[in-house]
């Protein structure tokens, strides 16, 4: 690395990002206070949005930054949820604490998954992860003590004396089911904030910058000393852990599980992919915008069933063909605004050398 002359300074912060930090802080405070004045159905909607956002951020970390297009994330949602149910039902753990077990279970599953799937390149990696998710689903369906193929519910005893729910019941004067929704919602707020902050931090570390190098060009990354294989493992394991936590949390709120639902390709991977693609892959803002668009589309079109999914698919295709960087990419190109700048930008001075691109035509 050559030293930069003193009149340059390397910045990763932009004016928009400073403003957005303040806005984000306000938003978090409002989000935490929300149950005091919002209806139960709004809380449930917010829970859905936040958990999908978490899944989308982790998928984006994998595909958008790591170049690992997984179609098997449902494996980690499912195993996280089932591990949570397993320790609650079989060992009598508290459900809230068990969410962590869900994340750990997903992390453990990710090790053999990566071992197999990393033997496959590109598109074959995608289907490989899907096969493994299918295998896990079929195996879990054989696990009789959590209901086998038909599934089971969280025992009443566990849900009624779950940590914090008693306090919430008295605090907001609500029934136990509503208290559970509020608790799940708060946990989702924490998870979403932690996810975004964590990924933002990861991408701004030296490692994270290496990640972008790996995505852009494995050979070049190697030549500057980024260990591409290590980075792939790191990203894959981190995403699995986060996805497993989300899985545990989602099914804590649902309180009922079955293999087909918990390992659903459509719910936990297809939707998530559309969220990221529509919002803008390879940015932190993209999934946030995407999940809002997704939620609005769903509210408008959900009554039309399969038409809704067709529209979603067509929008996804159109975005990929005509605006591959998604809605956020369109917006950001027009305005130059970046809320979560992860690229280092050189300011001051003048860049003298222009780099030839290898694109022909």
């Amino acid at each position: 690395m050559s030293k930069l002359p003193p009149n340059y300074s390397v910045q990763t912060r932009t004016r928009a990002s400073s403003i957005s930090a303040i806005v984000a802080l306000v938003l978090v405070v409002v989000a935490i206070a929300l149950p005091a004045f919002a209806s139960r159905s709004l809380i449930q909607d917010m829970f859905f949005i936040l958990t999908m956002l978490v899944l989308a951020q982790f998928w984006n970390l994998l595909a958008g930054y790591g170049g690992l297009v997984s179609v098997g994330q449902q494996a980690f949602v499912g195993i996280g949820a089932y591990a949570m149910f397993g320790v609650v039902i079989l060992l009598g753990f508290d459900p809230v604490a068990s969410i962590l077990i869900g994340g750990i279970a997903a992390l453990v599953l990710a090790i053999p998954t990566a071992f197999f799937a990393f033997r496959l390149q590109g598109a074959y990696f995608a289907i490989g992860t899907w096969v493994i998710a299918e295998v896990v689903r079929l195996l879990v369906a054989q696990w009789k003590s959590v209901g086998g193929g038909t599934g089971t519910s969280l025992p009443r005893s566990a849900t009624s004396d779950m940590w914090f729910t008693g306090t919430i019941e008295t605090l907001f004067d609500v029934k136990s089911a509503a208290a559970r929704d509020i608790l799940a919602y708060w946990l989702a707020v924490v998870l979403a904030v932690a996810t975004i902050a964590g990924i933002y931090w990861l991408l701004r570390t030296k490692r994270g910058l290496g990640l972008a190098a790996v995505r852009d060009n494995i050979e070049a990354a190697k030549s500057v000393g980024v260990d591409a294989v290590r980075m792939k493992w790191l990203v894959f394991l981190v995403s699995a852990f986060g996805t497993g936590l989300a899985g545990g949390l989602i099914y804590l709120q649902k309180a009922r599980i079955s293999p087909d639902a918990a390992f659903s390709l459509q719910d936990w991977t297809a939707y998530v992919i559309f969220i990221v693609v529509i919002g803008g892959i390879g940015t932190i803002e993209g999934p946030i915008l995407g999940v809002l668009v997704f939620f609005i589309l769903q509210s408008l079109l959900a009554d039309y069933g399969s038409w809704y999914l067709m529209v979603l698919g067509l929008i996804g295709i159109a975005i990929m063909l005509f605006a591959p960087r998604g809605l956020w990419g369109l917006f950001s190109d027009r305005t130059g605004i970046e809320l979560f700048p992860v690229r280092r930008r050189l300011t001051g001075g003048r860049l003298s050398a222009t780099l030839p691109s290898s694109k022909e035509e």
């Binding site: 179609v71 995608a126 096969v131 067709m310 295709i317």
Partner: protein, 287 residues
């Protein structure tokens, strides 16, 4: 004796999986594209044949022949107007576009034909069987396997005996230099996907005659096809048949032990091959 029977059934089932996989293998071999909607296109083909049979009373085999040009045109158009635009060094766009296509197709079929399962009626053929050395073999599975052989031999002839086949291989090697030979890579890709859709139609015929189908079963067919291709080794058509047979045998043997293990056994066989021979059983020398 029961085991011999089980394994034979599995081998014949492998013919069906090889039919699912041949189109995928062809397209991947020429343009390194994995079409995530492949399974849904097979299901679409089955509905098209069903529609023709119901509306015109044609025999399913004739109906499939009638469907072929339509499916060819569909594949050609899909490649030319959609997939060619996203081919390139970045694997993400083609994956995401075909994934979107898969969702669109599944839900369009759901809207058009409902979620009820359907079957292409093949009359007495579907129950006919012949006995060889004391083992009863279904005529339908035998026909399926025979068709898989014909498809693979036909594709090999196309690849190694015709001018179009040379152009396929040349474009696969190096599209830029191929264009110096007067080959239009975009056109070659469109033809290849068109041909893959003809094979998809044959696969659809047997899928629809042998078992019930509904709009949601495409992704599972894609997975079997994919496993067969990987087991065989990328780009090897005979390898793809071998891969199909391995999945088929694993499934029937698994099912014979415990009916719930049928699908699982196929996936496990795939993972075992991946573990022992990451490049498949018959990898291509140059890649």
């Amino acid at each position: 004796m029961i085991w011999v029977d089980t394994i034979l059934q599995g081998i014949l089932l492998g013919g069906l999986y090889a039919l699912f996989a041949a189109g995928l293998s062809l397209v991947f071999g020429i343009m390194r594209l994995v079409n995530l909607a492949h399974g849904d296109l097979i299901v679409l083909g089955a509905y098209l044949i069903l529609l023709l049979v119901t509306l015109t009373g044609l025999s399913p085999f004739v109906a499939a022949a009638v469907a072929m040009p339509f499916m060819f045109a569909l594949g050609y158009g899909l490649q030319k107007f959609m997939l060619n635009r996203v081919l390139g060094d970045d694997i993400l766009p083609p994956l995401l576009v075909t994934f979107g296509l898969s969702v669109v197709l599944q839900n369009a079929l759901l809207e058009g034909f409902s979620a009820d399962s359907q079957r292409i009626q093949a009359g007495s053929l579907s129950t006919a069987s012949i006995e060889i050395a004391g083992i009863g073999l279904g005529v339908m599975p035998l026909l399926t396997f025979g068709s898989a052989l014909v498809v693979i031999i036909g594709l090999n002839q196309l690849f190694y005996r015709t001018s179009l086949g040379r152009a396929f291989r040349a474009t696969s090697d190096d599209p830029t230099t191929a264009s110096l030979m007067g080959i239009k890579p975009a056109g070659i890709f469109a033809k290849a996907t068109g041909i893959a859709m003809i094979i998809v139609t044959i696969a659809a015929l047997y899928l629809g005659m042998r078992s019930n189908f509904d709009p949601s079963i495409g992704p599972a067919r894609l997975i079997y096809a994919f496993e067969a291709v990987i087991i065989g080794g990328l780009g090897s058509l005979w390898g793809t048949l071998a891969g199909g047979v391995i999945i088929g045998v694993a499934q029937t043997v698994g099912a014979a032990i415990n009916p719930e293990w049928q699908i699982l056994a196929g996936h496990v066989a795939f993972l075992v091959v991946l573990l022992l021979r990451p490049r498949g059983l018959f990898p291509r020398a140059v890649d």
